[in-house]
């Protein structure tokens, strides 16, 4: 399984959606609820019969709407398509059913619309406009960027604009992210070793980081709190942080993984926390204080767990934390293809590996208090 996403529109419950990949059986979307207080995981299964899921994303506005990229296999051809779906109403807000009867009543997704890609090639991913009303999505298909308008409550997808990346050789987008800054007018895409930025209004390229990584770029993410800052990861085992205003040099490089880094994610609220997943089966949580939006010296360098009086804390010399790896999670036995922060709880994240194991972890408590206090 490779597809994992938090339920973006949900801000109360911790909920992740996982898409399965199976060639020979019906694929499913698993809705994973995590009850933080009782430490219970609840699971609901939705059937997704059209094919194995390569990418999944949820609408930021409507809890029940999600988009998937899936493989449609015929005898001689594999085609990756994308579609927008709605899940049954009762699952939207997470019904707390007992897990044992979830297997009996599997429900089916309701198809809202197809994103027609017959002319454009295989869909690599679908991005929803962040902070938007769930009307605009962008999909990457081979070398095309397609901007769709969803109309009639998402029942109809109109291709509003598109652009194609031209160049010699077979250019193929591997992934992309929609920037939450600049009024959501920018996206960044990755193809081969290059990272490009695009303006969604004009569909023009605005910057290009050639050879951002020594090898294929696997994933991107925008710093949610700091404009122009972008993280990328790739097959050279590195995570790089860029300032898109100066694309000649990365701001910072992390080299902690021992194989391809498949996923990089900024924490939504505390952008010094960086989560990376790699095919060396590790998930690494890093603390990149030096390039975060957190001002230096904001944090108190003392024992946060002790209940000390405020004035005491303020008297102490405040030292910035160093950039460091906070924790390495080695629960997975196979390559980790997806990591995501929860949209509801900023201290919680999930990671998904090839063998289908989903692991939910928390930021270490000490660090959490350290950042908060």
């Amino acid at each position: 399984a490779r597809a994992l996403t938090p339920q973006t529109a949900e801000t109360d419950a911790i909920r992740f959606l996982v898409g399965t990949q199976s060639l020979r059986y019906d694929n499913q979307i698993h809705i994973i609820d995590f009850d933080d207080e009782n430490n219970i995981i609840n699971k609901n299964v939705l059937l997704h019969q059209v094919g194995e899921i390569w990418h999944i994303s949820t609408s930021p506005a409507d809890k029940g709407v999600l988009a998937t990229c899936y493989n449609k296999t015929s005898d001689t051809k594999v085609m990756t398509c994308a579609a927008v779906w709605r899940m049954p109403k009762e699952l939207e807000s997470g019904s707390h059913e007992s897990p044992d009867d979830s297997s009996s009543n599997t429900q089916t997704l309701e198809l809202l619309c197809h994103l027609d890609n017959t002319a454009h090639g295989n869909m690599a991913c679908v991005m929803w406009e962040p902070m938007g009303d769930g009307k605009k999505i962008i999909s990457l298909a081979d070398n095309n960027i397609l901007l769709w308008d969803l109309q009639e409550s998402s029942a109809k997808a109109l291709l509003s604009s598109s652009t194609a990346l031209e160049g010699k050789g077979q250019l193929k987008f591997t992934s992309g992210r929609w920037s939450p800054h600049h009024n959501c007018t920018q996206i960044a895409t990755a193809n081969d070793t290059t990272v490009r930025g695009w303006d969604t209004r004009s569909m023009r390229q605005i910057y290009c980081i050639e050879n951002a990584h020594g090898q294929l770029v696997r994933d991107l993410d925008f710093n949610p709190n700091k404009q122009y800052y972008l993280a990328s990861c790739g097959d050279d085992c590195k995570v790089k942080f860029w300032d898109t205003r100066n694309v000649t040099e990365p701001v910072k490089i992390l080299e902690e993984h021992s194989h391809w880094v498949w996923n990089v994610r900024y924490n939504h609220s505390h952008d010094q926390l960086i989560l990376t997943g790699s095919s060396d089966s590790r998930v690494i949580l890093s603390n990149m204080v030096s390039i975060s939006s957190e001002p230096f010296g904001h944090m108190v360098d003392d024992d946060e767990l002790s209940d000390q009086e405020d004035q005491h804390q303020e008297e102490k010399i405040k030292e910035p934390l160093q950039d460091s790896v906070i924790a390495t999670y080695e629960e997975h036995e196979d390559s980790v293809y997806a990591v995501e922060w929860s949209s509801a709880d900023p201290w919680l994240f999930a990671s998904l590996s090839y063998d289908g194991r989903l692991v939910i972890n928390r930021v270490p408590r000490a660090l959490k208090y350290h950042i908060l206090l």
Binding site: T20, S22, L23, R24, Y25, D26, Q28, H30, V45, N71, T73, D75, T76, K77, V78, S103, T106, E210, N211, G214, Q215, L216, D236, C237, T248, E249, H257, S258, H259, W260, S279, D280, S281, E330, E333, D334, S335, Y354, D355, G356, R357, L358
Partner: protein, 848 residues
């Protein structure tokens, strides 16, 4: 016993007689050294003397100080026997006691010695001799035979002494008679001589009387002669005085010095007799002439063309003319200043004009070399300055209040000029020339030292700066040289090779590179050593002894170079690969890794030892970088390079695999007939890498192999027959447990770090590359959807790789494990997982 008894009686008798020993009589001879007598201390000496006399000439007063050792038993016995004999021989007691006093003083030290010795009552010659104890000892210790023997010996000895005594007496008598004869003869001679002496006295008296008469007759004439001579001298002086103005006038123009001398001589007299009108006229005239002369000298002083000597003369003369010294000294200095300025200007003219805007790309090479320049500077400027300073001091005495700031200002300018000139020495030129130039400069400047104490420091600082600069330049030259070598190596690596003929092997290249760099370093060290050579004057400065060796050469040159080398080498690993700059060829990486490793192993310590030998560091000097730290740096660089090499090569192979997997249509492929070409290519490449690495690195250890390794079947296919392992038992309720079995298996196998640091051996490097390649294959296969034949093709390829790659890896299980995973993933990604028969796979592989 019968014999012993009388001895004892005799002994007791002797002891009893001690108190009455002063009286002459039979008791006296029995007391050789009575403890209470004044001669007690002299006694041992007396004995010794006596024995000496016996042995030698027989003189009584012989002064041979050597002490005859008195041996324990027999010596003691003979001593005991000799004492009474000696006393007896000099009958008359007091007669021999008086000369004894000086003798005793003469032998004082030995008696003192004897006194110091532990008192031994049995020592017959010792001061503490106790006859009673001695006798008791002899009686109790010696056997009868020995006693008898001693008695006989005593008898013999007494007889021998008797006859000696007689001989001596006879000889003495003879001598006495001959002495009497001589005295008688002398008496007769003296009587004759007295008469002659009386004659002599009478003659002398007659002579003195006639001499008095002669002198009285001559006295009058002598007085008149003397008077006449005095008058003539006075007249001559007056004549000279009258002539003074004329002479002065004559010489003032041509020989002012002579005129001055003349004037000086006449001046005192003239002044003394100025109340006489005639003398006054002379004085006035000469005054006028001298004033005129002074005027002329002053004009001359202001002329530009005076050389220092003339200048000095001029001023000297003026001083003699009693011109004000203060004014003159200023004048002198300004003249000297002008002259030195001219010298400096001449020197400056040789320097290219400073280009303030810095637009000129390179200043033209200076006309003369540095040695020439310094030579001229030293001889012209420093020489003149010294000369002038010397004359100033001679002229104006010890007052150097003006001179010092004057000289300091000029010297500062000179230093500045020299500094500028040194700055022009950009090229590496001839260091010995530079060293010689600096040496000369330093030597010449020493002359100025007493004049300019501050100048010494400034000069030393200048020399040190120049040396430092030179060392820095050598460092840069070394770096350039190394880069040049690297360029050569790159070219050699990149040069197209005629097929069938191998280019220069990597080991050759490495050896050439290392040797040339080391040679260059040694040459540079030799050059730099010139700065500290013994015959160079400034080498003895504390700076050159201590700080230069340590800070400049060891740290600034050697350590800095090694550091830089490591950094540069690392740069090949870190830098260019990032942003698409032309990456270093992998072979170069490998070469550099080996070079760094060699440095770590031996070269660094060698270089440091060499440096420390040539430039011995001082104990109290600044801290030096220890060798191990450098070694660690070199090792880190080597590690980084090798890792990078593995990554680059791994990435190259991986890229090939990835492209081959991504571009193929795995769904619609036909049944595999042979191994795909790319796999063969991969094996070829890895073999080539193996050869390349093998040229430079050792084999390394391999984990023990099971004998059937290469023949081992692909476990996945056997397991596909044994159902349940990879055939997924997919149920909607438990989709996460699909691969429970494989997961459990993985739990027990080691986690494989793909991009992990490698060790410095071939196997480890190759293992790293293979791991990277196979993991890539795994990830790529997982991204594809395979048809039945696609799976079979993967199966065939995997088996092929398995067949050929295991022997490169340190642990074949790594290869095996990764290939198993590839097969499992392929099976999982397959729409119709029907694996090929294993025998067919083997057949295809062997055929391909």
């Amino acid at each position: 016993m019968r014999v012993l008894v009388p001895m004892a009686q005799h002994d007791t008798g002797r002891a009893g007689s001690v108190p009455v020993a002063a009286a002459p009589g039979p008791g006296n001879w029995a007391s050789p050294c009575p403890a209470s007598l004044p001669c007690r201390h002299g006694n041992p000496a007396w004995h010794r003397k006596w024995r000496k006399g016996q042995a030698g000439s027989g003189r009584w007063g012989g002064s041979g100080g050597a002490m005859a050792a008195v041996t324990t038993e027999s010596g003691a016995g003979s001593g005991a026997a000799g004492s009474p004999e000696a006393t007896g021989g000099s009958t008359g007691g007091g007669g021999w006691r008086r000369p004894h006093g000086p003798l005793q003083r003469y032998y004082g030290p030995s008696t003192a010695e004897a006194a110091e010795a532990a008192p031994d009552p049995t020592d017959i010659n010792g001061p503490h001799f106790d006859p009673e104890v001695f006798m008791t000892k002899v009686r109790s210790e010696c056997p009868l035979g020995q006693l008898l023997a001693r008695e006989a010996a005593l008898g013999r000895e007494i007889r021998a002494l008797d006859s000696d005594m007689q001989t001596l007496l006879y000889e003495n008598y003879n001598k006495f008679i001959s002495a009497t004869d001589t005295i008688r003869k002398m008496k007769v001679d003296f009587r004759h001589m007295e008469a002659e002496m009386d004659d002599l006295a009478a003659n002398m008296a007659a002579i003195s009387a006639s001499s008095a008469r002669v002198s009285a007759a001559l006295q009058d004439r002598h007085r008149r002669g003397a008077q006449l001579a005095g008058v003539q001298a006075l007249l001559r002086k007056l004549q000279a005085l009258v002539e003074v103005p004329g002479r002065l006038r004559r010489w003032a123009g041509t020989e002012p010095a002579r005129a001055l001398r003349c004037h000086a001589r006449a001046r005192a007299v003239l002044r003394h007799y100025r109340h006489l009108p005639s003398f006054r006229a002379i004085e006035d005239e000469s005054h006028a002439i001298m004033a005129d002369l002074a005027q002329r000298l002053r004009t001359r002083l202001r002329e530009e063309t005076l050389d220092p000597k003339e200048l000095t003369e001029c001023v000297e003369m003026l001083l003699q003319l009693e011109e004000p010294a203060e004014e003159l000294s200023e004048e002198f200095l300004s003249q000297a200043g002008a002259r030195l300025e001219a010298e400096l200007a001449a020197l400056e003219a040789e320097l290219p004009t400073a280009d303030p805007s810095g637009t000129a790309s390179t200043p033209p090479p200076p006309a003369s070399d540095i040695l020439d320049f310094v030579d001229r500077g030293s001889s012209a400027f420093v020489g003149t300055l010294c000369q002038l300073a010397g004359s100033y001091r001679a002229l104006f005495g010890g007052d150097t209040g003006h001179l010092e700031p004057f000289a300091a200002a000029l010297a500062t300018r000179y230093f500045a000029l020299l500094e500028r000139r040194l700055a022009l020495e950009r090229g590496l030129g001839d260091t010995s020339l530079l060293v010689r130039a600096l040496d000369r400069f330093h030597r010449r400047l020493r002359a100025l030292l007493e004049l300019l104490p501050a100048g010494a420091d400034a000069a030393a600082a200048l020399v040190a700066r120049a040396a430092r600069e030179r060392v820095d330049r050598y460092l840069r030259a070394l770096q350039t040289f190394f880069l040049g070598c690297l360029g050569d190596v790159r070219q050699a690596l990149a040069a197209p090779r005629p097929p069938g003929k191998e280019g220069p092997g990597l080991p050759d290249l490495l050896a050439t590179l290392a040797a040339s760099v080391l040679g260059q370093l040694k040459a540079v060290l030799a050059y730099v050593q010139l700065f500290t050579a013994r015959d160079v004057a400034f080498a003895s400065l504390p700076y050159f002894k201590g700080e230069f060796c340590v800070t400049a050469v060891r740290e600034g040159l050697v350590v800095a170079f090694v550091r830089w080398l490591c950094r540069t080498a690392r740069g090949f690993a870190d830098g260019p690969a990032e942003r698409g700059a032309p990456a270093a060829p992998p072979a170069l990486l490998l070469l550099l890794a080996r070079l760094c490793l060699d440095y770590e192993n031996s070269t660094i310590s060698y270089i440091l030892t060499l440096t420390d030998e040539q430039f011995p560091p001082q104990d109290s000097g600044p801290a030096v970088t220890p060798g191990p730290a450098l070694c660690a740096e070199a090792r880190a660089a080597a590690q980084r390079l090798l890792d990078h090499y593995v990554q680059v090569q791994g990435a190259a192979v991986a890229q090939m695999l990835r492209k081959s997997v991504e571009t193929r249509d795995w769904l619609g492929t036909v049944e595999p007939r042979n191994v795909r070409a790319v796999m063969k290519r991969v094996v070829e490449d890895i073999t080539a890498i193996d050869v390349q690495v093998g040229q430079l690195f050792e084999e390394g250890v391999r984990r023990a192999q099971s004998s059937d390794s290469s023949r081992r079947a692909f476990s996945v296919y056997s397991s596909s027959r044994a159902p349940g392992r990879y055939a997924p038992s997919y149920t909607p309720s438990a989709p996460m447990d699909t691969h429970l079995l494989s997961n459990i298996q993985k739990l027990f196998s080691e986690r494989i770090d793909i991009f992990s640091p490698v060790e410095f051996n071939k196997v480890s490097v190759l293992t790293g590359i293979i791991k990277i390649s196979l993991k890539t294959l795994l990830e790529c296969v997982r991204l594809r959807t395979l048809g039945r034949f696609g799976l079979q093709q993967v199966q065939v390829d995997g088996h092929y790789l398995q067949l050929y790659l295991w022997r490169f890896a340190s642990d074949e299980r790594v290869v095996q494990g990764l290939l198993d995973e590839v097969a499992a993933s392929a099976a999982h990604r397959c729409l119709d997982p029907v694996p090929m028969e294993h025998s067919v796979v083997e057949l295809i592989c062997e055929r391909g």
